[in-house]
């Protein structure tokens, strides 16, 4: 009997964090303008110390202007989607649940499209509209998904599927109405993409804001991780053991939805990450949510940075949307996991 300890969580997360760091350095190296590891380390060091004068201008542009913001966005989006996926799988007691199953991404996509049509050049409009669309969907599905005044997993799932289907129909209708550049932007956005520039010149402030939302939502979900372990054995059993199931479901629903809304509003709907990463982490480290939530977050970041690095290098100078890359790799991985589970 070897129960989970905080030290074990820290150890595993530190290992995954180191892997992510190595991957970030490799990703910074790769691209049309290759950089040596020594130059990357020196650039990052001087940047962190605020000695901007000592960084060659082309390094500054490539590292801080192009690649690092994209990697940072990828880390944030991957972590948010994987954490949300792990949360939805427990909330809905369904291993096939992903962050988009309740229609949050469709709501965000609709909001983003409306902003592309109504205010295509307004700075930050797309992110704001996407988050507003996600928030409206969260609220609508919450009210539709209640039974007897409480969140019911089956009703919630049905309400989410109906909402997603309805919103997708509106999106298709809109896609038929637009042409040219707008259509390409929308398609990229629907597929999921990390190339959107921050809506402000204060890049650090922007990422700080996004990171704060992530920490609050993921932290709220983490406080329920012991409860989620019990809910996975059955809601009724969890109640017998003293879990306030209704409170836990409410916290997880709001937290996972906010994480999904956060990710989708800055990158579009990147598929498979929220579905597959929690399953891979379960296979590697077990099903305990106290470990699964942080490992899924770091694992999601690792996978999306890898996918985006490939997306911008395999057919360079053409860049693929990262969502196309995750879908290409995700489908076979999903089949593998499914067959392994059946054995």
């Amino acid at each position: 009997m070897r129960p989970l300890t905080p030290n074990r969580i820290i150890g595993i997360c530190a290992g995954l964090g180191a892997l992510l760091l190595i991957e970030v350095v490799i990703s910074l190296r790769m691209g049309d303008y290759p950089l040596a590891v020594r130059d990357i380390v020196a650039t990052l060091y001087h940047g962190a110390a605020g000695r901007w004068d000592e960084i060659p201008s082309e390094f500054k542009l490539v590292v801080f202007g192009l690649r690092l913001p994209r990697i940072a966005l990828g880390i944030l989006v991957g972590a948010a989607l994987s954490t949300a996926g792990a949360g939805f799988q427990a909330l809905l007691r369904n291993p096939l649940a992903d962050p988009y199953v309740l229609g949050v991404s469709s709501g965000a996509a609709l909001g983003a499209m409306l902003s592309l049509i109504v205010a295509p050049h307004m700075v930050g409009a797309i992110q704001f509209a996407a988050f507003a669309g996600a928030a409206a969907t969260i609220a609508a599905v919450y009210f539709l998904g209640r039974r007897g005044g409480q969140l019911d997993s089956a009703t919630l799932l049905l309400a989410g599927i109906v909402a997603a289907s309805f919103l997708s129909a509106i999106i298709i209708f809109l896609l038929t109405m637009v042409t040219g550049t707008e259509l390409r932007s929308m398609t990229f956005w629907l597929m999921g993409d990390l190339t959107a520039p921050p809506p402000t010149t204060n890049v650090i402030g922007w990422f700080g804001f996004l990171f704060l939302i992530f920490v609050v939502a993921a932290g709220a979900m983490y406080t329920t991780s012991s409860d989620l372990n019990l809910i996975l054995t059955g809601e009724q059993e969890a109640r017998h053991l003293g879990v306030n199931v209704n409170r836990v479901k409410m916290v997880v629903y709001v937290a996972a939805s906010v994480l999904t809304g956060l990710a989708v509003s800055v990158s579009g709907a990147i598929g498979y990450i929220g579905l597959l990463v929690p399953h891979v982490m379960r296979m590697l480290f077990g099903t305990d949510y106290r470990l699964l939530i942080p490992t899924s977050a770091i694992g999601g970041a690792i996978v999306i940075v890898l996918a985006d690095t490939l997306a911008r290098t395999v057919v360079a100078p053409t860049q693929l949307p990262v969502g196309a890359m995750t879908a290409l790799a995700g489908a076979p991985v999903f089949i593998y996991l499914m067959r392994r589970r059946m054995r």
Binding site: M1, L232, G234, H240, G242, V243, N244, T287
Partner: protein
């Protein structure tokens, strides 16, 4: 002829004497409940009022046909439902008013089956029984591991601790589910149809084990079951439920009366008294 035959037993609920013996663990006093489709509609099902008591080391069997109110009574005993009227007390405390974790330290309810979404090892499952002790986000202590190990040993499942839950047989799984309830260190142990998926050997073994646990740990054990003969063999008292009412409560010999059982279960039955003094129910030849 069975002792219960021809004594004019009727289906009217009999008054239950309410003397307060020492060490009363569970006290159900005129507890009732009603299910309605909506807040304003007429009740679809009504239970009670039900009254009985159970002491330490007592094993009480709740019997009755389907839809007689057994599971509703069990939820009232577990504090998962608040009685519409009356009280359900465990060690003098109204169980439905306890904070969920405090309640789980007093009362453990063993479900019929555990449906795991993802694979779990036996020791992980049993450690969940320690959840009521500690903060919301918690890590298991050495004491928790000791308690979980003891619980596994008490149900004879020590050798299963590293096995996966979904690879256990029905009997093994039932023992592990029971071990998790024991890890809660409850005063009152409730089991809802625990013999449902077991063969006859497993059923006898489980009831024998519950009997031993009640004696050794001073538990009060309440079992909902359809097994009339096993209940007669192992329980101190039985409560016979019918159409939402507790018709009889007492020793098996007192409750097992042919006319009453035939009427309740709608089957031709005979009741024999064995040399041990405990009754046995057999299907009558006149069917």
């Amino acid at each position: 002829m069975s002792p219960g035959a021809g004594n004019g037993a009727s289906l009217a609920p009999q008054p239950i004497p309410f003397a307060a013996p020492a060490h009363v663990r569970l006290k159900v006093e005129q507890a009732s409940y009603a299910y309605s489709a909506t807040d304003r509609s007429a009740p679809k099902f009504t239970l009670g009022p039900v009254s009985f008591e159970a002491q330490q080391r007592e094993l009480v069997a709740i019997l009755g046909p389907n839809a007689s109110g057994k599971s509703t009574l069990m939820k009232l005993l577990a504090g998962l439902l608040k009685p519409l009227s009356g009280r359900v007390e465990v060690d003098g405390m109204e169980v439905s008013e306890l904070e969920p974790r405090a309640r789980a330290q007093q009362v453990a309810l063993v479900a019929q089956e555990s449906e795991l979404l993802f694979p779990l090892r036996v020791w992980e499952y049993v450690l969940q029984g320690r959840y009521p002790y500690g903060k919301r986000l918690r890590f298991e202590s050495d004491e928790d591991c000791l308690m979980a190990g003891n619980a596994l040993a008490q149900v004879g499942a020590d050798g299963l601790r590293d096995r996966w839950m979904d690879q256990l047989s029905g009997g093994e799984k039932q023992r592990v589910i029971l071990a998790r309830a024991l890890a809660q260190r409850p005063e009152l142990l409730l089991l809802d149809e625990p013999t449902q998926h077991l063969d006859i050997g497993g059923k006898v073994e489980l009831l024998r084990r519950l009997r031993r646990l009640a004696d050794a740990n001073r538990y009060t054990v309440v079992v909902v079951t359809h097994e009339l003969n096993l209940a007669a063999e192992f329980s101190d008292r039985v409560a016979l439920m019918h159409k939402g009412k507790c018709l009889r409560i007492g020793s098996p010999a007192e409750v097992y009366q042919r006319e009453v059982l035939e009427e309740v279960f709608e089957a031709p039955l005979e009741v024999e008294i064995r040399p041990s003094g405990r009754p046995r129910v057999i299907l009558s030849g006149n069917h």
